[in-house]
């Protein structure tokens, strides 16, 4: 291969992802939580870190992080305060930002010890009345995780233990306690957001089994969510470039999600 061919290839590759002149940028500026595995951490060990590296490389951009705990006001104080240009994972229908096409769809899952052989599928399972059930709780105004709402609506309260998602930020992996509580037998089953459950179930002391919470037609709480990359609402061209980069890296992204044990529902990603 002559040096000219190398140059030509490089030039062609450059044209497909050339920076938009109206959006000159040299780095992909990502806002992320510094301590929230499996999603992200400050050592770059989360799957969102890995996918951000992939997109930055594809777009020939450097990668730069602004770290901020993903708590109330996160989008407002990071992306929408322009301390970064991208949040790697948000529900695709969030009104506060524009999102790319979703790159995975996951669901709340049941987590139980394999040796219990519970095989729960639905929140209507009568056994849930007598089991000790763990559920993730959000303390936010009037809002909560869909399984927390759905269990309460079924009158399942006294045997349900809440695990607040706002925990001491200085602990390593502050959110894994709900999965560990299943392993230790403190609860018989926990209802946990899929990516979190899949990742820590792989790393538990005892074998754990996960299965998606199936939704009946009269259930008005969504248990599955499309997750996408978020950008500011007034940057549609940048979003389009990210969409293209996501498309070009679809297989690599799937491999990363597999590595992290992210359970996915297929075939229902929004167009």
């Amino acid at each position: 291969m002559s040096p000219w061919q190398v140059l030509l290839v490089g030039w062609l590759a450059g044209t497909s992802t050339a920076p938009d002149p109206r959006h000159p940028q040299r780095t992909l500026r990502v806002c992320a939580d510094p301590n929230n595995l499996p999603f992200s951490n400050s050592r770059g060990e989360g799957f969102e870190n890995r996918i951000a590296e992939l997109l930055a490389a594809d777009l020939h951009l450097g990668l730069e992080y602004t770290w901020w705990a993903q708590r109330r006001g996160f989008v407002r104080r990071t992306l929408n305060a322009k301390t970064c240009d991208v949040i790697m994972g948000l529900p695709a229908d969030m009104d506060i930002a524009a999102t790319t096409r979703p790159y995975y769809r996951s669901a709340y899952v049941f987590v139980s010890r394999s040796d219990r052989n519970l095989r729960l599928r639905s929140l209507d399972d009568a056994r849930l009345k007598s089991l000790r059930v763990g559920v993730q709780l959000v303390g936010d105004d009037g809002a909560n995780t869909p399984p927390a709402h759905a269990l309460a609506q079924r009158g399942l309260v006294d045997n349900v233990r809440g695990f607040p998602v706002v925990r001491d930020f200085r602990e390593a992996n502050p959110l894994r306690n709900i999965v560990d509580a299943v392993g230790r037998g403190e609860v018989d089953v926990a209802v946990v957001w899929g990516p979190l459950a899949g990742y820590f179930a792989q790393r538990g002391a005892v074998p754990l089994r996960i299965s998606p919470v199936e939704v009946t037609s009269d259930e008005h709480w969504p248990m599955a969510f499309d997750i996408a990359v978020a950008v500011r609402k007034d940057e549609p061209l940048f979003r389009d470039r990210l969409n293209d980069a996501l498309d070009r890296n679809r297989q690599a992204i799937e491999r990363i999600l597999d590595t992290y044990g992210v359970p996915r529902l297929t075939g229902r990603l929004a167009p």
């Binding site: 104080r77 309260v157 045997n159 233990r161």
Partner: protein, 548 residues
């Protein structure tokens, strides 16, 4: 003394506090310096400024505690601080990241600092401490994040913890013992702070203390209100959820509980009980009574016997349909089933809205008129369909809440309320919620500020407008008055839009989104056009020649 016939007040001094500050605190005066705690949204919050009253407008010192920036990522409703206090040569105040600090009032040097709240778990401190019998009383904030509420006493000279009383959990934690004599049956029994919750749920049950504390030295009792139970969704916490949304009377020396009254058992609407208790002695049916006046977030002015905890009357002061009154025999709030929120279902026209008929803004009482001056808002809300959101990598859904001004009412009012006749004597209407405190002076004036940036004085007897001054930003602080080193009386107020309703301006929220700022978008659409961020301390004096 300021009198109603004062003509005009003149602006004596104005000190810029910050270019983007939310001034939610009361400035207060010590010796010849006045200090104001401020809480900018974009620069490190919780600075304290000491201003020289001999050379108006000059700063003597500034104290910068540099709180953990993460505090701004977890604080509930805005980066606010409700003020500091002065005791024994020290300015004592809280910082958002969970610390109580004592700073030498003369030098501005740190005397002690004690960490009380765990910011990393969402626990913040926003209230103004009170010193009683050498003890600094401090309560926590952060009920939105599943923290457990408490009131703590620190030794004022060292900052060491003396006692802590939790507001949920077993009696030993709540400091309930043999001396606990609540007036009503439903508050008597063992460990109600455990049994009025689903198993273990009291551990993250809220009931924080982010309002003001009052002290009666004669009875030797402190009084404070407890905040809403967590989580907000009431289906997750069947039961009365004690000891949230109510008023505690305690001994300051030991923290021991003496009585409790629950204004909103099993709260459905975020109607905290944190509003202040005003302690006055007035004749009721010919007999002098030691009273406690509590204008509640749920819309009633409670007139209580502060020795026993008995409710003598509970009168609406704003539009209410979330409840049907208070049963004076049982002491219980009578709920309105039609307005009960059901998860996933749209419920319209709930009054008062979540911020209540009155939020943090302190009332004022004048012993000349025997009237309670109540600055407040008139808001209703719709709780609508589902909306997806995301924290800590966990998607969640919830009610889309939209606040709006109650149809047929002004956005805000200042009421002069007669607690004995149980009626309003006069009302001044404002377009926007009145989020500042009220100040009553011996000269028969009532001062308050508006969110569109007017500082006003009205006649305490009639409500007649006497004077106003346009400030640079909206006012959400507590006015104060003091005697200057020259012997003259001054009135001071800090402007600086912010707080929960003001967050639409400070955070530049999109008010086309009606649910922006937790539902304030719709009610506050106008605000962004009538004021701007920034904070200045204004000090007003009587004009030369005015009668003292």
């Amino acid at each position: 003394m300021l009198t109603p016939d004062l003509g005009v007040l003149k602006s004596e001094a104005a000190a810029a506090i910050s270019s983007a500050a939310a001034g939610c605190s009361s400035s207060f005066v010590v010796g010849i310096s006045t200090a104001a705690a401020s809480e900018p949204a974009s620069v490190p919050p919780n600075q304290v400024f000491a201003l020289d009253l001999v050379n108006p407008g000059t700063q003597k010192w500034t104290y910068k505690p540099d709180p953990v920036p993460a505090a701004q990522g977890v604080a509930c409703c805005d980066v606010v601080n409700r003020g500091g206090t002065y005791y024994d040569g020290k300015i004592i105040f809280n910082t958002l990241d969970g610390q109580t600090l004592a700073v030498d009032a003369k030098s501005g040097k740190l005397v002690w600092r004690t960490t009380l709240g765990n910011i990393h778990q969402g626990e913040t401190l926003t209230m103004a401490p009170l010193v009683v019998r050498g003890k600094v009383l401090v309560g926590d904030s952060g009920g939105e994040f599943g923290v457990r509420g408490w009131l703590t006493a620190l030794d004022a000279s060292t900052g060491k913890q003396v006692w802590r009383a939790y507001n949920t959990g077993p009696d030993t934690d709540v400091l309930i013992g043999a001396g606990f004599k609540p007036y009503y049956q439903q508050d008597r029994g063992k460990d109600l702070g455990v049994s009025s919750w689903p198993p273990g749920r009291w551990q993250t049950g809220g009931g924080t203390v982010w309002g003001f504390i009052s002290y009666d030295p004669e009875l030797d009792l402190i009084y404070y209100g407890t905040a809403n139970p967590g989580p907000w969704n009431p289906d997750l916490r069947p039961g009365d959820n004690k000891w949230t949304c109510g008023i505690f009377a305690r001994r300051p020396e030991t923290g021991e509980a003496v009585w409790f009254y629950q204004t909103s058992p099993h709260d459905l609407y975020d109607h905290d009980g944190i509003n202040e208790s005003v302690l006055v002695d007035l004749p009721v049916e010919g007999k002098m009574r030691k009273l406690l006046l509590h204008p509640g977030r749920n819309g009633y002015v409670y007139v209580m016997d502060r020795q026993s905890g008995q409710v003598l009357s509970a009168t609406p002061f704003a539009p209410i349909n979330s409840s049907k009154g208070v049963d004076l025999v049982s002491g219980k709030l009578i709920p309105n089933e039609e307005k009960k929120p059901v998860s996933g279902r749209t419920i319209r026209d709930i009054c008062p809205a979540a911020p209540g008929a009155k939020d943090w803004q302190p009332t004022a009482f004048s012993p000349q008129t025997n009237l309670l001056y109540i600055p407040h808002q008139n808001l209703c809300e719709d709780i609508e369909a589902l909306e997806a959101s995301y924290i800590e990598g966990t998607p969640y859904v919830g009610a889309n809440v939209r606040y709006y001004i109650a149809p047929g009412f002004p956005g805000g009012s200042v009421d002069a309320f007669d607690p004995i006749q149980k009626k309003k004597v006069w009302t001044v209407n404002e377009k926007l919620p009145v989020w500042s405190g009220a100040l009553a002076t011996g000269g028969g004036l009532v001062f308050y500020g508006t969110m569109d940036g007017y500082f006003k004085a009205v006649d305490a007897r009639t409500g007649k407008a006497l004077w106003q001054f346009k400030t640079g930003s909206g006012i959400i602080s507590q006015p104060t008055t003091f005697k200057g080193p020259d012997g003259n009386q001054y009135v001071a107020v800090l402007d600086g839009i912010g707080g929960w309703p003001g967050s639409v301006v400070v955070n530049q929220l999109d008010t086309r989104d009606q649910t922006a700022g937790n539902g304030w978008g719709a009610a506050m659409r106008e605000l962004e056009h009538v004021t701007r961020p920034g904070s200045t301390l204004y000090v007003f004096a009587l004009p030369p020649g005015a009668k003292p």
